[in-house]
Amino acid sequence: MSAEGSIALETVVSRNDEPVAVEVDRTVVMMSVDQGMYFGLEGTGPRIWALLERPRSVRELCDALVGEFAVDPELCRREVCTFLEELRRAQLVRFDDPARDAVRPPPRA
């Protein structure tokens, strides 16, 4: 797991197990007992969270979102990366960089 470092298209994003997440009013509400914090995901956040039901690369996430929302691919990638960085800072997801992790097989292209 790469704790720091920038996010790349091949970075694989996984949900952390700890937070309990439920959906209320089109918001995904999460509680981290470890951190003693609540979090709310709004806008496209709940959709991204749903896609992360299994680990996915940033590229996979962006491809799915561009297919679902009328959005410019480059803008989508920038905004998704910003959002994922926020999620990581909140310890809601973790990043795995296959290029730096010899144990993990690379994600399918």
Binding site: D25, G40, G45
Partner: protein
């Protein structure tokens, strides 16, 4: 009100002693309905509706509760959690245990007053049993408006729940429950809550706001000088009441006002107002509390009711509740965090 004894490791808090009228801890007992549960109790529970004898959900036994030494002034409290069992000692009252969501042990101190024993038994210990059973006890009092659904007023001890319920009842609302609002696990459709004992706990100042002098009321136990004011009994203790709105009682100056809470704010507020959430935490049940708070937030409208404590704006506050209308909400594309 029970003192806010909390945390797995135990925790001590001092209370002043109030030498109110007392009665001995009476023997007796029977079968009672408490928040939809059949409770077979070796301690009499006046005010709670009798249940026909059948296999009980919860049994209240008089038994030794060991391992909880306690010093300090009367009503000091200490709690421990061990293997999913919560034990609570209250100085001058007794020691209690709650285990498996099914058994409450009561070990009364010599000379304990009946109303004190029952206060902690049907309050914090029953609340703990409800947590253990996977239920959601909100620290709230509830009425049913003549026009619509049930509304619940949530808040800490002394926030003004019972005072507001008394005002709503005087204006024509039907009493549902005081201090605890227990959600029925929703199968589908509307969320419902169980009726409680048909009485309100009020102090003398709140009682004086009533239409006439109330005399000869039973003391409610504890050291806050509260009495039981009888209410009209619900039509059936086996029929839960539809709940439409929860108001979080919040202190604030000036005339009363409402703030609708978003999904995140609503869930966080409902977790905060969960009855003895510190005990649920000590029992490792916070994820359950969070999920059930979310279920409630999905089904009911949650708002802050901001007003000063006391009687000053009571009629305006009651009128505001009666007139409350739906207000829209805005979308935000963001992740926001706030301390739990």
């Amino acid at each position: 009100m029970p003192p806010d004894a909390s945390s797995a490791g135990g925790h001590l808090r001092a209370w002043t002693y109030d030498d109110a009228a007392s009665e001995p801890a009476l023997p007796g007992g029977g079968d009672f309905w408490i928040y939809g549960l059949r409770v077979r109790s070796e301690i009499d529970l006046p005010g709670w509706p009798a249940a026909s004898p059948a296999e009980p959900d919860v049994t209240v036994r008089r038994e030794p509760v060991p391992g909880l030494d306690l010093d300090g002034p009367p009503y000091s409290a200490r709690s421990v959690v061990e293997d999913g069992e919560l034990r609570l000692a209250v100085r001058g009252v007794g020691r209690y245990s709650a285990r498996g969501g099914a058994i409450i042990g009561v070990d009364a101190d010599p000379g304990a007053r009946g109303e004190d024993l029952r206060l902690y038994l049907t309050g914090v210990m029953m609340g703990t049993i409800l947590h253990q059973r996977g239920s959601f006890p909100l620290h709230a009092s509830c009425v049913a408006l003549p026009s619509a659904d049930g509304v619940a007023f949530a808040g800490r001890s002394g926030a003004g729940k019972s005072t507001l319920v008394a005002a709503m009842v005087r204006r024509g609302a039907r009493f549902v429950s005081d201090d605890l609002c227990v959600m029925v696990p929703p199968a589908s459709g509307q969320l419902r809550v169980w009726p409680g004992a048909a009485r309100l706990k009020l102090d003398e100042a709140a009682l004086s706001a009533g239409p006439g002098a109330e005399t000869g009321l039973e003391p409610a136990g504890g050291n806050r000088g509260k009495y039981h004011l009888p209410m009209d009994a619900p039509r059936s203790h086996e029929s839960p009441i539809p709940l439409g709105r929860v108001y979080i009682l919040t202190d604030g100056a000036g005339p009363p006002r409402l703030e609708r809470l978003s999904g995140l704010e609503a869930v966080a507020a409902l977790v905060d107002e969960t009855y003895f959430v510190s005990f649920a935490q000590a029992l490792g049940l916070i994820p359950q509390v969070f999920r059930l708070a979310a279920v409630m937030a999905q089904s009911v409208r949650v708002s802050r009711l901001i007003r000063p404590r006391g009687l000053e704006y009571l009629p305006e506050t009651a009128a505001l509740i009666e007139q409350d209308e739906f207000r829209g909400e805005s979308d935000q594309d963001a992740v926001e965090g706030r301390p739990a």
